[in-house]
């Protein structure tokens, strides 16, 4: 098999001798801080950055006995759906190496799909765990907002993102979620609902009497082969005693626009910290100056470091976010996006009164060929149509392999109510 480039750094971090993950290797996405091990976020800006502390989820992995076997490749700062925007080169999809593994946690999903790691952690801001899980034919979970601590996760869009597990099976993904979920005094947005969880036990495949809602808006416009595989999987669930209902969520048609306004706005603020002074690429190196004095005043020096340290997609999002928040545009873009977010939440609440879980194809398209989406950023943004509504509504969702279309993996996304992790795990396990 071709070298997949699933890892940015291959270094082993041993965990405790005895725990639920003893003997298991876990690939950790490279935006999750590991004490003493380089953490780059897939960016030239952080090449060589070595965190002096562990993320809370990394502490949990070590306590559970896991062996971290490397830092997984990713789209730069999580900004992309293909893992092609990494400064360290694209990751290839182990199912078909001419295709992308999805993103932004593409290294994590590729490592698991290829057997280079038993399990992996990714982060999901708008689909970044579920998309690569779908494209690589593995399982990925985006937990309810607040279930997993974000302490030590390098921030992209705080109000949307969660760290989530990737694994070959639903039960293993749920088991890894059990390890990382829980309240953390160092992340004030965490909740206690995940303390002492046992999501793995819910992977019993029992969907008898479960109602599965399908939002028609998330099927329209999807690739024909993907839709066919999706309906086959729904029929499979019906055969096992589940009931299918159609639901309507008109708000999701505004989700991609609302998501990108909010994510880019938050990113423009979060990424302001990268100025090359405390960490990251320094202006002297970036501008090839003799010393700091030659780099000019702080505005000039920072702009030099950021020009050289950030790739095109990151610059694009910082600039669009800055624009959306600037005087005269704030109400028109950011304010409206928050209205859309509230509308989407309301639509989900109503739909989840009619159904126990909601189902859609995770990705409306099969895995892109390498290079296919890079020329037009909008192609990539629109591929996130089915995953971003979930982040805007703070809900949990899982992507589970539903079958193949033209020999390529198709993922089914199952969305649950807030803290409904057990329900989505149960429904997904019925498809294995």
């Amino acid at each position: 098999m071709a070298e997949l480039n699933a890892y940015i750094t291959e270094e082993r971090i041993e965990g405790a001798d005895d725990g639920p993950l003893t003997g298991k290797t876990v690939a950790v996405k490279d935006n999750i801080s590991t004490e003493g091990v380089e953490t780059t976020c897939g960016s030239k800006m952080l090449e060589g950055y070595v965190p002096p502390y562990d993320a809370t989820v990394v502490e949990h992995l070590k306590e559970a006995g896991a062996t971290i076997n490397g830092k997984a490749n990713m789209d730069e700062f999580g900004m992309g759906s293909t893992t092609e925007t990494s400064h360290f080169g694209a990751t290839l999809n182990p199912v078909d190496t001419d295709r992308v593994p999805g993103g932004s946690s593409g290294g994590s999903a590729a490592a698991v799909a290829a057997g280079e790691a038993d399990l992996a952690l990714g982060s999901d801001t708008g689909g970044s765990v579920r998309a690569p899980a779908a494209f690589c034919g593995v399982v990925g979970i985006k937990p309810t907002y607040g279930l997993v601590s974000r302490y030590g996760l390098v921030a992209y869009a705080n109000s949307l993102e969660q760290i989530g597990p990737i694994a070959p099976t639903v039960e293993e993904a749920a088991g890894l979620l059990d390890v990382i979920a829980g309240s953390d005094e160092r992340d004030a947005t965490t909740v206690e609902n995940g303390d002492d969880s046992n999501y793995a036990a819910a992977a019993d495949g029992d969907v008898e009497g479960m109602t599965i809602g399908v939002p028609v808006e998330l099927i329209e416009g999807a690739d024909e082969g993907v839709v066919e595989t999706f309906w086959d999987a729904i029929a499979d669930l019906e055969d096992q005693g589940a009931e299918y209902v159609e639901v309507s969520m008109p708000s999701v048609e505004k989700a991609v626009a609302a998501y990108y306004v909010i994510a880019m706005s938050e990113a423009s603020s979060n990424l302001a910290r990268f100025d090359g002074t405390r960490y990251g690429l320094n202006a002297v190196e970036a501008g090839d100056f003799d010393d700091l004095d030659e780099a000019g005043n702080w505005n000039e020096a920072f702009a030099t470091a950021r020009e050289e340290g950030f790739g095109p997609e990151v610059k694009r999002r910082i600039l669009l976010g800055t624009f959306a928040l600037s005087a005269g545009y704030h109400d028109r873009y950011y304010g409206k996006a928050q209205d859309a977010r509230a509308w989407i939440k309301q639509d989900f609440d109503e739909s989840l009164e009619e159904a126990d879980v909601l189902a859609s194809p995770t990705m409306p398209v099969p895995p892109f060929e390498l290079g296919e989406s890079l020329d037009d950023p909008r192609t990539m943004y629109l591929a996130d149509a089915n995953t971003v509504p979930v982040n805007l509504a703070d809900l949990p969702a899982i992507s589970v392999p539903a079958g193949e279309a033209d020999g390529l993996p198709v993922g089914m996304q199952l969305i649950g109510p807030k803290y409904g992790e057990e329900t989505i795990v149960r429904a997904a396990s019925a498809l294995e």
Partner: protein, 95 residues
């Protein structure tokens, strides 16, 4: 979503935003971004059709005791800085 009537984005506007964000851009980047931003901003404009909904987010204040805890040592905090002086970060001059 783009209908061809999107607002034109000029290179000058891209440079203004880049200046606010402290990111230098090459001429090529300015030209490319101006073109791409037109299409993306046209997508953003569709949010104008979003209805207002009543929402009551369940927000709570999260408080903790104001107690001194162990943090990073000065050495750890400075360990990733390329320029330091007398135990401090050394930044570029202000003006």
């Amino acid at each position: 979503m783009s209908d061809g009537n999107e607002p034109a984005v000029t290179g000058e506007e891209v440079r203004e935003v880049a200046d606010l964000a402290r990111v230098d851009l090459s001429d090529d980047e300015v030209e490319q971004f101006a073109e791409q931003f037109e299409a993306v901003l046209a997508d953003f404009e569709t949010l104008d059709e979003v209805p207002e909904v009543e929402s009551e987010p369940d927000l709570v204040n999260v408080m903790r005791a104001d107690e001194i805890e162990e943090g990073l040592t000065q050495e750890e905090a400075l360990s990733n800085a390329s320029e330091t002086e007398d135990g401090y970060f050394k930044g570029p001059r202000v003006s």
